[in-house]
Amino acid sequence: MAKNISFTIKYWKQNGPKDAGHFEQREMKNIPDDTSFLEMLDILNEELINDGKEPFVFDHDCREGICGMCSLYINGTPHGKTATGATTCQLYMRKFNDGDVITVEPWRSAAFPVIKDCMVDRSAFDKIQAAGGYVTVRTGQPQDANAILIPKQDADEAMDCATCIGCGACVAACKNGSAMLYVSSKVSQFALLPQGRPEAAKRAKAMVAKMDELGFGNCTNTRACEAVCPKNESIANIARLNREFLKAKLAD
């Protein structure tokens, strides 16, 4: 049975990337603890609109933890603290207590400028993907799918790497603003599959170069990224990326 809780919410307001931004706060009363965190924010916005104010802006879409749109930094953790590693939309109010102060901030990173409030621009991720995150293959008649045999273990591992949802929590958590976990997950997926091998060297170099160019920081192996990754991507991917990258550079 759901119980109701009351708490204070501090949320970040910022009008564009050049604005300094500030917190606003509001007392939330009698929120059923089986509402999701985003539904709680819906209630907040409904209240703000009823007061004639502009709502608090944040990104969200599928609300089932897969689209990667949501990007809130809640009480010092990207996506908030969930049991199994999940996105903001899968965080439920039962994880909070009566009287809590809940602080909601945007991803703070130079490569992710704020658009408004907690909505940030993550198009840098698309640019990195465009630099090499694909297997170049024409639409048409490739060989039969079963003509490429892939050991189950490799397929499973590639799948684990491929589950990255591109939310950017890794960058948000990293004190260096590094995108290595994101990049390494994509590079790893293709590095593990035979289809990805022909372009492996080119891909690793191109994606790393683009990442550096876009102003992401360097990896110092603090492991903050994997601790907050909603899809439990491992820094073993980063080691693999380093391997692929060094191999590619040495072969030059």
Binding site: N75, S109, G217, N218, N221, N242, L246
Partner: protein, 220 residues
């Protein structure tokens, strides 16, 4: 960072082994000191070492500046460090600065009085009535001062933290890690760093407590 770091770890290993000799034999230790005097190979190695440290440090400054820029202008109001994130991992630069400061002190205490003095004044250089080749004497002299002993221990502690992260981090950066190897490398790193620092620390502690006296007691 990783390559210079690994090289520096190797140097530390050599240095620690050398120090331990001082526990057992003053003559043995001084023999090594003599070998590492102002000979061409020792000077060359020292220059290479200095270059390594410089590379490691300058690169660290560049990376830290880049990373601070990447972090952006705004800071989080609330942060909650995940349990798996080690303190050392997030403070490598600060630890590195402490290590460098300790190193400057150390160079002043020993290298300046030994190799540098020898280069400047020839093989007959004397400082505080000690020959430039009497490394053992200098150990006794330095750690007779409790302030130095404590400073050295603080320095070693910082170095331990720096190494616990630096060791596996170097392997990770060089791509020699994975889901299974990560834990192996990390464990090896902890053991290695601990043994290494203990080897250094035991020399400091021993000479701080009883100077050269008990050494002769042990070694006869």
């Amino acid at each position: 960072m990783s390559v210079s770091g690994v090289a520096l770890i190797l140097f530390l290993t050599f240095h620690a082994c050398m120090n331990v000799v001082a526990l057992f034999s003053a003559e043995g230790y001084n023999m090594i000191c003599e070998m590492l005097g102002a000979n061409w190979y020792a000077v060359a190695a020292t220059a290479a070492l200095a270059a390594l440290v410089a590379v490691h440090f300058i690169y660290a400054i560049i990376l830290t500046l880049q990373n601070r820029k990447a972090r952006g202008a705004s800071r989080y109001a609330v942060t909650d460090k995940p349990a798996t994130v080690e303190w050392a991992a997030q403070n490598m630069f600060v630890l590195g600065v402490i290590v460098i400061l300790g190193m400057v002190l150390h160079l002043y205490n020993f290298w300046y009085n030994m190799m540098f003095a020898e280069i400047a004044n020839g093989s007959m250089a004397y400082v505080n009535d000690l020959s430039a080749h009497d490394g053992y004497g200098m150990i006794v002299y330095t750690f007779a001062c409790p302030v130095y002993s404590v400073l050295y221990l603080v320095w070693l502690a910082a170095l331990w933290f720096h190494l616990t992260h630096g060791f596996w981090s170097a392997f990770q950066t060089l791509g020699w890690s994975g889901k299974i190897w990560f834990n192996r490398v990390k464990t090896i790193g902890y053991v290695y760093a601990t043994v290494l620092i203990l080897m250094f620390a035991v020399v400091v502690v021993k000479f701080a407590l009883c100077g050269g006296a008990c050494c002769t007691g042990i070694c006869g």
